[in-house]
């Protein structure tokens, strides 16, 4: 009994902050909730969500912004990691590259908001090199607004993937690389034929983790764009927030959260399963 008593508080704490809110959200999703008035709706909220164009738009935005951001981060992180993983500075000081990740997300969002919108820093820079002639209104176009979110996310989170990829490359057996060189392989052949396939499980795990994180993108949207223009940057998290805390449709917001959780689990599970299955054969 004593051991159970020892771990009891920690378990209770975890259950209180994870299991209880989760179950509560599922329960709440079955009601139409207007503050203290709860009326049974069954699967009504879910039926409404499936027909809600804004929900599908938010899902699409999340996929577009998240997908592009993730693709860009992965490509940049992998390229930089491949070119510098043998560098002694990177070996010794790779922790330095984690700096952007250590900033508070809201601070990062404000910095980029200043740089893009309020402070016009990016516009001024682009004008000074002659790429644009007028001040750019980043929130005036769907793709420019999405680009601001992508840039902010890439800036903050590329180091996370970089550090994982550098670690994986540094952990590779140097003899294998040397054997490939003697077999006549160029650096790019070594990368495509040997390093990349060997890193596959690590890449899948890192990208999946990052992908799950990106689907919950909220802070940047809330601070930088608030879903504008015309809902083009409204991600799922922001949609749920808007439904819950702006329109006070708590049951509806809960149903959307449950659906989002379900979609995330299914997608992540499918990717990981497929990646590891084909890696084994």
């Amino acid at each position: 009994m004593f051991p159970y008593l020892l771990v009891g508080p920690a378990v209770l704490y975890l259950l209180a902050i994870t299991l209880y809110p989760g179950l509560f959200a599922i329960y709440q999703s079955l009601f139409v909730v207007k503050f203290v008035n709860w009326s049974w709706a069954g699967l009504g909220n879910y039926m409404r969500i499936i027909q809600d164009r804004e929900f599908w738009a938010a899902l699409g935005n999340t996929a577009i912004i998240g997908g592009l951001s993730l693709g860009l981060q992965t490509t940049i992180a992998m390229t930089v990691a491949f070119f510098c993983y043998r560098d002694s500075f990177v070996r010794g000081w790779r922790i330095v590259f984690l700096m952007p990740m250590l900033f508070m997300p809201s601070a990062v969002a404000f910095i980029w908001k200043l740089a893009f919108n309020d402070g016009r820093v990016i516009s001024d820079l682009l004008m000074s090199v002659g790429l644009v002639s007028n001040n750019v209104d980043w929130l005036s176009s769907i793709w420019l607004a999405r680009l601001t979110l992508i840039v902010a996310d890439v800036w903050q989170w590329t180091p996370f993937l970089f550090i994982i990829f550098v670690g994986a490359l540094q952990g590779q057996d140097e003899e294998i690389e040397e054997a490939a060189r003697l077999d006549g392989a160029s650096w790019s052949s070594i990368f495509w034929n040997i390093s990349l396939p060997m890193m596959r499980p690590i890449i899948v795990v890192a990208v999946t983790l990052r992908g799950i994180d990106i689907t919950t993108m909220f802070t940047n949207v809330y601070i930088m764009t608030q879903g504008t223009p015309g809902g083009a940057t409204e991600t799922m998290s922001y949609f749920i927030y808007r439904q819950g805390f702006r329109m006070f449709n708590f049951g509806y917001a809960s149903a959307a959260s449950v659906l989002m959780l379900f979609i995330t689990i299914v997608v992540a599970q499918t990717i990981v399963k497929r990646a590891f299955k084909s890696g084994k054969s």
Binding site: E175, A179, L182
Partner: protein, 347 residues
């Protein structure tokens, strides 16, 4: 097929000199073994031939062509690594095929060459497996097949058998030697195992602290060691080295006394191989320290005042520990080394 020439090769790592002024001429089709203890510079020498390290000074030529500035991938050498270095994500078939793909060998030739190489190392049934599904010996054979498939000018082998058990090592030794004779490819083989060196080599290069100690055939190195390092490194158990003094044609040390060339005097080290010692005789007096019967032979260790001496005694020999024993030396097989360790006389 090609000769290899190393001319005044120096390799430094900062202030540490890994290889010092090395000159070596490896003839075409020769099987040359670089032998020495860990850190003696043998692997560095091989890696310089491969192009994985660049010499600080000196010239490396393969087939007469200067190789100093030629990248590893453009040198026509194949290397077998101690850890096999197979590509874990590829099947054995794809592993063996990799150098053919990288060197743009016509695809039509691939299958036949891969199967021929696999046959040579008896790996035919395992081609579809991944390296992780093979035993150590099979992996080593796969690494060999990958090296031979492209018919390189030079084979480099870096302690390829050191991860295998003793029995497998013996059979792989025979296989490597047979393969080298069949393919007639100049081979440089690095090992710290003197049995491997003696059994495989046409010539052995013994190195210590980055310096070549002796170059010669296995017989030559065994029979005529140039210095105490070589004498103490070759042989199992190695040559007994007894420090003493020579005067008026007699060498004497605590408990030992043998005739020596009259021209020797001062501090001298006597060398005598364990098989050239006989129980009974009057050259060495001591106490039995250990008796190790192995079936076909009994190893006897005798302790004198400041030294233990190994002797290969007959298979029936037994003696109680700490009993007094007298040992005789075959005086036609004595070696004498000067204070600097260089051979000064004997045999």
């Amino acid at each position: 097929m090609a000769s290899i020439l190393l001319k005044n090769i120096v390799k430094s790592f900062g202030s540490f000199v890994g290889v010092q002024d090395m000159n070596l001429d490896i003839v075409d089709e020769e099987f040359l073994v670089l032998l020495g203890p860990s850190g003696c510079g043998k692997t560095t020498t091989m890696r310089m031939i491969a192009g994985l390290e660049h010499p600080t000074e000196g010239e490396i030529r393969i087939g007469g062509e200067l190789m100093n500035d030629i990248d590893a991938r453009d040198r026509d050498v194949a290397m077998v690594f101690q850890g096999y270095a197979l590509y874990p994500n590829m099947s054995i078939y794809e592993n063996i095929r990799f150098p053919l793909r990288m060197r743009q060998v016509p695809k039509a030739q691939h299958d036949e060459r891969i199967r021929r190489a696999a046959e040579m190392v008896e790996l035919g049934p395992f081609l579809e497996r991944k390296p992780g599904a093979l035993s150590g010996g099979q992996r080593q054979r796969a690494a060999l097949a990958r090296a031979i498939v492209r018919q390189p000018q030079v084979f480099l082998m870096d302690e390829p058998l050191s991860n295998l058990d003793a029995k497998l090592r013996a059979s792989m030794r025979v296989q490597i030697k047979h393969m080298q004779r069949e393919l007639k490819v100049t081979t440089v083989y690095v090992t710290h195992d003197q049995i491997e060196a003696m059994t495989l080599a046409d010539r052995i290069v013994i190195m210590n602290k980055g310096v070549i100690q002796q170059i010669g055939t296995p017989d030559d190195i065994y029979s005529n060691p140039a210095n105490t390092f070589v004498a103490g490194f070759i042989g199992s158990p190695p040559m007994n080295l007894i420090a003493g003094t020579a005067q008026n044609g007699t060498f004497s040390a605590a408990g030992a006394r043998v005739p020596c060339p009259a021209n020797l005097s001062g501090n001298i080290t006597l060398g005598i191989r364990p098989e050239d010692c006989l129980v009974g005789g009057d050259n060495l007096q001591g106490l039995v320290y250990g008796v190790e019967p192995t079936g076909d032979i009994t190893y006897l260790t005798v302790r004198t005042a400041n030294k233990t001496v190994e002797i290969k005694a007959g298979r029936e020999f037994r003696a109680p520990i700490d009993s007094a024993i007298a040992v005789g030396f075959d005086t036609s097989r004595l070696y004498f080394f000067g204070e600097d360790g260089a051979r000064v006389g004997g045999n």
